[in-house]
Subunit: 274 residues, 2 copies
Amino acid sequence: VIDLSRLSLNQATVKRLTLPEAVDLCVQYEIGGIGLWRDRVAETGVSDSAAAIKRAGLHVSSLCRGGFFTHTDVEQREIAMADNRAAIEEAAALEADVLVLVSGGLPPGSRDLPAARQAITDALAELVSRAQELGVRLGIEALHPMFCADRCSISTLAQALDVALQFPQEAVGVVVDTYHVWWDPKLATEIQRAGERIASYQLCDWVVPLPADMLLGRGHLGDGHIDFGSITEAVEAAGYDGFIEVEIFNQQIWDAPANDTVSTVKRRFTDLLA
Amino acid sequence: VIDLSRLSLNQATVKRLTLPEAVDLCVQYEIGGIGLWRDRVAETGVSDSAAAIKRAGLHVSSLCRGGFFTHTDVEQREIAMADNRAAIEEAAALEADVLVLVSGGLPPGSRDLPAARQAITDALAELVSRAQELGVRLGIEALHPMFCADRCSISTLAQALDVALQFPQEAVGVVVDTYHVWWDPKLATEIQRAGERIASYQLCDWVVPLPADMLLGRGHLGDGHIDFGSITEAVEAAGYDGFIEVEIFNQQIWDAPANDTVSTVKRRFTDLLA
C-alpha cells in the first residue's frame, strides 16, 4: 500500500502546460512532487522555476534529462558533455532528487554496440565528480530494447545497474520506468539487486498496438498490460521510499484537458497502488 | 567465414510466392535451404510440398510455426494444442530441421506474465513426447521484448534457453533471430551457453524508424544497425553448423520483384558473412 503523498506528476504527462501551469495543477490536485523537463524549465528560467516550486511547496522528484553520450564526433561529444554539465547545475538549483539520463544509441554509421556502451560509462566517469560537487545524483535509465539503436543502448535494468555500480552510490543510481522494463524476466531479481541504487521510479502503462511513433505508446495506469502491483512491491522491498512519478507520453492524453489528465492520474494511482 | 552453401531462404522473405514458386527461385539462385510457412505448405498440400522440395534437392531448414500456448480459455487452448500437434506432423513430413515456436503473449485481460510464461513451459511438456516420436525438434524463439504483451512472452535468449533446458536436447532447442536479440547485452554469453541447443539461426536487420506495424520493421542485411559478423561468430563458436536463414518481413521488400529480393539476399549474405 503506497501513500498518495508519494505521487509525483511528471511534466511530460501534461506536455502542453508551462512549468507554472503544471505547478498550479499539482497544487490544485494536492500532488506533492513534480518531475521537470529542461525545455520547460528553460522557458520559465531556472531561478523563477525554482522559486515557483518552492512557493508551491512542491518537491522536484526528477529533472529530465541528460545523456546522449555516444557521439564519436569530437565536437558533438563536447557539446553533449557541456549540455550535461549544464543539466547537473540545473538539477542542483532545482534540488531535484535525480537527473535522469537517456544515454544515447549507436552513433551514425556504427554497428558497434559494445563501443557505444563503453562510451556511456566513459562519459559518466567524466561527469561524476561535478555531480558530487553539486550534490546531484545521476540516474541511468534503461530504455526499452526497441530504442537500443537510436536512443539508448542501455537496454536492461541489469545493464544500467552494472554501469552505476562502477561509481559512488550517492552520485549514480538507476531509474526504474515500468514502460521500459516490465517485460524483463529478470526484473524482480534486478530490482532487488539495485536496492539503494534506485534513484527514481516512474510509471506508465504499455498499450498495444503501439502507435507509429513508439515514443508515444504509453497509457494511463490500468489501460495496458503492466502489473504495477508486483513491480511496485519489488521496488518497495528493495528499499525505495521516494516519490513515484507518473510519466505518460501519449498524443491523445496530451490533447485532453490537463485537469482531466491529472484527475485520471491521481485516481488510477489510488486505485492500483494506494 | 561462412560457406554460401549454408544460406537458406525463409519463405516469408518472398511472401507473395507460392511454395513451388519459392522452391524454383531457390533452385535458380542455387540456394540449398528453404524455411517454410505452414499457410503456404497447406495451400500446396503437405505431400506435394515435400515432393517438390525433394525433387529440387532442397533442405527444409525450418517450418514456421507452432506456439501460441498461453490461452487460459480451455477450448482455445485445446485448439492451439491440436494445431501444434498438426504442425509437428507437418514438420516430420517435410523433414524440417526445426519447428519454430512463437509462444504467445498475455491472454486477454491478464497482466500475469509469470503465469503466461509457465503456461508456455506446460504446453511444451505436453508436446515433447509427440515431437520425439516423430523425430521433430521444437525451437523456442525469443521474440523482441516489444512483442511481450501480444505475441510472445519469451523475450530473451536466456529465457528461451532456460525453458529448453528442461527438456531433452534433441527434442527442444532455441531459435536465434538477430532481429529479436541483437540488442541484448548478454547475447554473446547466452549464445555460448546455448551451444548445441541452437536449432536455428535467422537473419534480418533492424531498421529505424520502425514502421507502424512493428512486425514489418525488418531490412535486408546491411540496411540497418545489426553487427552480423560478431553475432554469427558467436553462433559458430557455440557449435552451430546448420543452415542460416534470411527471413525478412518488410512491405517494400514484399512489393519488389522476388528475383531482385533473392538476388539481394544472396549478395548481402556473401558480402557480410561469406
